[in-house]
């Protein structure tokens, strides 16, 4: 539950490498990540993929929890609109995430820390480009402080 204090101190001293959580839909984006791997396209090692059955499985609480547990950025990848394997899941996910991201922005959390991308199973190159770009964005934003327990910070 608590942010590990020694951990925080360590990242402070070292060069900042952002921790990124990527929720990937099993049917498209996870396969896209696979393809990226087998085609030897690189993406940052600190992108931690969590496989979900469909983009709409991702509850706003998951995103907040990821930040609590130390993520600096959270990205959700699903099938392209119209291609969801459960027909319409990603349409609902799209509305939910739009509202959630807007609320985070309203609370003063940096808007670049969250993102949604549609990546199909054939788009290994897009997957790797997206992750590299997102990692760069988060690197620029610096460590996530606002959605963590601030009292652990110095």
């Amino acid at each position: 539950m608590q942010v590990n204090e020694t951990n925080t101190v360590n990242t402070e001293e070292k060069e900042f490498t952002p921790l990124i959580v990527a929720f990937c839909c099993n049917w498209c984006s996870y396969a896209g990540a696979d393809l990226a791997g087998s085609s030897r396209l690189s993406y940052p090692a600190n992108v931690k993929i969590i496989r979900v059955p469909c983009s709409c499985r991702v509850n706003p609480l998951f995103i907040l929890r990821a930040f609590q547990r130390g993520a600096d950025g959270v990205i959700l990848c699903g099938c392209h609109p119209g291609d969801c394997h459960y027909s319409t899941g990603n349409y609902y996910a799209r509305r939910r995430m739009t509202l959630l991201f807007s609320m985070l922005d309203y609370l003063g959390i940096e808007k670049g820390r969250t993102r949604v991308e549609w990546v199909s199973a054939a788009e290994g190159a897009k997957f790797s480009a997206t992750m590299n770009d997102f990692a760069a964005t988060i690197h620029k934003l610096g460590p996530n402080r606002k959605l963590r327990d601030l009292r652990c910070e110095k």
């Binding site: 539950m1 907040l64 609109p81 319409t88 349409y91 509202l99 991201f101 003063g108």
Partner: protein, 329 residues
């Protein structure tokens, strides 16, 4: 007000007498005259029933439980309560057949804190008659203007029309007009125009006051789950105060998110918060976004329309719209 009270008592006893309903959710005086709570009443204790500017409690939520019981219950619904009522009927949380809804007029509810802020203390009784509020205090009689002491939500009243009822106490056309006309999004706009850091500081200031009493959730007619996520013992956040500012943020984001698209902006959450946190500013952010992104929507307008989060269109905006349209960075 006295007139309406007489009419109401007469009507209610008539309806209970002729068997239209066998009990009523009314309001009961508490320790102080401004400390009114909803209460179930029957024929024998009906004389305790009254209606005044402190009967703000939205009865719809109580109907969830009451409509599960034997017999029919009589509900007194102010115009804004009927939105919540519709929403609950739509979500199959209230059994419409078990409720007899009597629409009652409302001329705006009063905020005792605003009365006290005018320096009126030691309040013994409050007489609510139209434009002027007469307050009897330990230090003599005082008066104040109704418009000065209206609740925040009443200043942005949705209007005097009842959206659902079986019967109206007086026709909506003859009901008093609530002096309103303020823009409910004014403060939301203001916050959006601030810088990200200012917004962050503003919300830290507000949300860190939260004592996690859960009153905002308990009173909310849209929060109608039998078991709430915040009651999940395995979540680590159940039945306890917020341990750190992450938990404060999380509770408030999730509370507001779970009612997004279903919140009627009834204002109950802000009314009951003992810490005076402006919860309506979170709800209204969602309402404003929904209006802007997916078209104007008022929850509870009717009992059939699909809510914005249970619907979609293929051409919906992408979440990246927040990057362009969101508040100042």
């Amino acid at each position: 007000m006295r007139e309406i009270n007489e009419m109401l008592k007469k009507k209610v006893s008539e309806l209970l007498e002729n068997g239209t309903a066998d009990r009523i959710i009314g309001w009961q005086a508490g320790e102080f005259c401004y400390d009114v709570t909803p209460a179930v009443m029957r024929k024998d204790n009906l004389d305790e029933l009254f209606y005044n500017g402190f009967c703000g409690a939205n009865q719809s939520k109580y109907l969830i439980q009451e409509s599960l019981e034997e017999g029919k219950v009589l509900a007194l619904l102010k115009p804004c309560d009927t939105y919540s009522f519709n929403q609950l009927v739509k979500e199959h949380r209230v059994n419409r057949e078990k409720v007899y809804a009597l629409g009652i007029p409302c001329s705006g509810m009063l905020d005792v804190d605003k009365i006290k802020a005018l320096g009126i203390t030691g309040i013994l009784s409050i007489e609510d008659n139209g434009e002027e509020i007469k307050v009897a205090t330990m230090y003599g009689d005082k008066t104040c203007k109704r418009t000065e002491v209206l609740q925040e939500r009443c200043k942005v009243c949705k209007g005097k029309e009842h959206k659902a009822y079986d019967e109206l106490l007086i026709p909506d056309e003859d009901a008093p007009e609530v002096p309103n006309g303020e823009d409910r999004f004014e403060l939301v706009n203001k916050l959006e125009a601030m810088t990200s850091q200012e917004r962050f500081d503003f919300w830290r200031g507000e949300l860190s006051k939260c004592i996690r009493c859960n009153a905002c959730r308990n009173v909310c007619p849209a929060c109608s789950c039998r078991t709430c996520v915040f009651d999940n013992d395995n979540s680590g956040v159940a039945a306890k105060s917020n341990a750190d500012d992450f938990e404060e943020n999380m509770f408030h984001i999730i509370r507001a998110f779970h009612v997004a698209g279903r919140c009627t902006d009834c204002g109950e959450c802000s009314r009951v918060c003992p810490q005076h946190i402006p919860l309506h500013l979170l709800n209204r952010k969602f309402i404003k976004d929904i209006d802007e992104f997916y078209g104007e929507f008022q929850a509870g307008e009717d009992d059939t329309a699909k809510g914005p989060l249970t619907a979609y269109t293929e051409g919906d905006c992408e979440p990246s719209i927040v990057m362009e349209k969101g508040g100042e960075a």
